[in-house]
Symmetry: C2
Subunit: 270 residues, 2 copies
C-alpha cells in the first residue's frame, strides 16, 4: 500500500510545518498575554471548562489558516468545522488542559495537527508556560525545542514495573462505555504511572520522558499531533479503539511511545 503522503512534495510539507510553527508562536503569544491581563472562565454543558482565551486563540488561528490556505479544512474544539470535505484538515485544540490553565497550573498546552486524507502530516504541541515545544512533519523528523528526538525502545526485560507510563483519568474509560477494568488492569500492571493533562502526557511520551501514554475516549483534536510526533521520533502509535458517540462524534483510544511497551499495553484492548 502506498502512503498517500508520499505524493506530497517535501517542500510543500516544509511549508505546512513552517505555518504550523507560526500558528503555535501566535497561540503562545496570545496565551501569555491573556495570562498577564486576565480572562473569563465558564463551564460548558458537559461541565468542562472553557475560557475566553480558548475561543479567542482558536479564532485567531482560523483567520491565519484561512488567509494562507483558504481551501483547507479546519476542525477545532471550540468552533464549527470549516471545509469539512477538504483533503487537508487543520485540527486545533487551542488550550488543552483548560481546567489547569484556569487554575494557574502550567501543564496545559496548544495542540495543532495537519492531516491529509485522514493521515497525519504535521504535528505541534506547545506549552507556553513551560517554554517547551515538540514538532514533527512527515519525513522530516521530530524535535523538542529544536533538538532532534530519537526514541530508544525498551528491552522486554526492562518492562519490570519500573517502566514509566502516563495515562488519562479513569473517567475517560467510563465516559462512553464500561471500560474502567482496562484502567484498573493497566495501573496494576504498570505501577510507575502518572496522570498528567493530555497534551503534557503526550509530549512526555513523544520525547521519551515516559515510556508510553494511554489515551482513551478522547476527540480527534486531543490526538491530532501525537501520531506524527511519535512516529517521526522512532516510536509507535496504535489506535486501539475508534467509535461513534451520538451527539458527541467520533472518539478514540490510542497507545503510543516505545514500541515494545506500546504493543504490550495495546494487547489489553483487543
Amino acid at each position: 500500500m502506498t502512503d498517500n503522503r508520499s505524493r506530497i512534495a517535501p517542500a510543500e510539507i516544509e511549508r505546512f510545518l513552517k505555518h504550523a510553527l507560526a500558528l503555535a508562536d501566535e497561540a503562545r503569544k496570545n496565551i501569555l498575554a491573556a495570562q498577564r491581563s486576565g480572562f473569563s472562565v465558564k463551564r460548558k454543558p458537559d461541565k468542562s471548562f472553557v475560557t475566553s482565551v480558548d475561543v479567542a486563540v482558536e479564532q485567531r488561528l482560523r483567520e491565519l489558516i484561512g488567509v494562507q490556505f483558504p481551501e483547507h479544512g479546519i476542525l477545532g474544539e471550540e468552533l464549527p468545522a470549516a471545509n469539512a470535505d477538504a483533503p487537508f484538515q487543520w485540527i486545533l485544540d487551542p488550550v488543552d488542559g483548560t481546567e489547569d490553565f484556569a487554575h494557574g497550573i502550567p501543564n496545559f498546552g496548544v495542540i495543532l495537527g495537519l492531516h491529509y486524507q485522514g493521515t497525519p502530516l504535521v504535528g505541534v504541541i506547545d506549552h507556553p508556560l513551560l517554554d517547551l515545544r515538540v514538532h514533527a512533519a512527515y519525513g522530516l523528523g521530530a524535535y523538542r525545542n529544536g533538538e532532534r528526538i530519537r526514541l530508544t525502545d525498551l528491552a522486554p526485560e526492562e518492562i519490570d514495573g519500573t517502566e514509566r507510563i502516563t495515562l488519562c483519568a479513569r473517567a475517560n474509560f467510563t465516559r462512553h462505555g464500561d471500560d474502567g477494568h482496562i484502567f484498573d488492569a493497566i495501573v496494576r500492571a504498570h505501577p510507575n504511572h502518572r496522570i498528567y493533562r493530555t497534551c503534557l502526557a503526550h509530549t512526555l511520551a513523544v520525547t521519551g520522558a515516559v515510556d508510553a501514554m494511554i489515551e482513551y475516549g478522547d476527540r480527534i483534536w486531543d490526538l491530532a499531533a501525537s501520531q506524527i510526533l511519535v512516529e517521526e521520533a522512532g516510536g509507535r502509535y496504535r489506535c486501539v479503539r475508534e467509535w461513534d458517540i451520538p451527539d458527541v462524534g467520533k472518539v478514540y483510544g490510542a497507545v503510543f511511545g516505545k514500541p515494545t511497551l506500546v504493543d504490550r499495553i495495546a494487547e489489553r484492548f483487543f
Copy 2:
C-alpha cells in the same frame, strides 16, 4: 490542650521562616545551575532515582542550617540524620520528583519543613522551573509567590464528581501493604483526578488549584511542609495512617485540602 508552638515567640518563628526561604533560594539557585551544566543520575537499591544534584543540594542546605542553628536536628532524604533528639528538626527533600527532574519534566520541587517537638512550624515547597513557591509559618499565614492564600471550602453539593483531586500512584497503596482497594475506590468516587508528582500535587492542594490531595505510604520528608501550608491557608490536614516499616522507617498517609472534601475522603481510611 495547649499547642506547644504557642510557646515560641512570633519573632523567633519569623526568623525560622526567613531562614527557610533563604534555604529555598539556595536550593533553587543550585538546581537551576545544575540544569544548565548537567548532572549524573543513578538508581538507588529500591530502583528510585537519585542525582548528583539531590545530594549536593542537601549537603549545602545542611551546611547553612548547621551554621545558623547548630543545635537543631536535620532529617533529609539523602543523608544520615543529625541531632536526632533535638526539639527543632529541619526536614528536607532536596529534589522531590527526582525521576521527573532527571527526565527534564519541570514538575519536581524542593520540600523544606521545620518541626518543633513533632509539630510543623514552617513549610516551603519550591518549584524552580515553574517559578512557583508556596510558604507558610505557624500563625503567619500561607503564601503563593508572596500572595496570601485563603482556601474556600466546597459545599457538600459541590462534591458531585466535578471536584478536582490529586493522589499518589496506586503503587504507593500496595508498596507497604495491601491497600490498593482504597486507591480503586477513590478514583471511582472522584473521577476528576490527576496523579502528579508529590510536591506539585501538594502545592496544588495548598493553593486550591485542586480541592484535595491524597498521599499514601510516603516518608516524613514528602509531607514535611504540607500540614502547616494547608492549615495556614485555611484548609484541613488529616493524617490517616502512620506505620513502621522494617528497614524503611515510619511511613504516612494523609488527606489534605478543602475541609469538607478532606473529611469525606478520609473516612475511607478508617
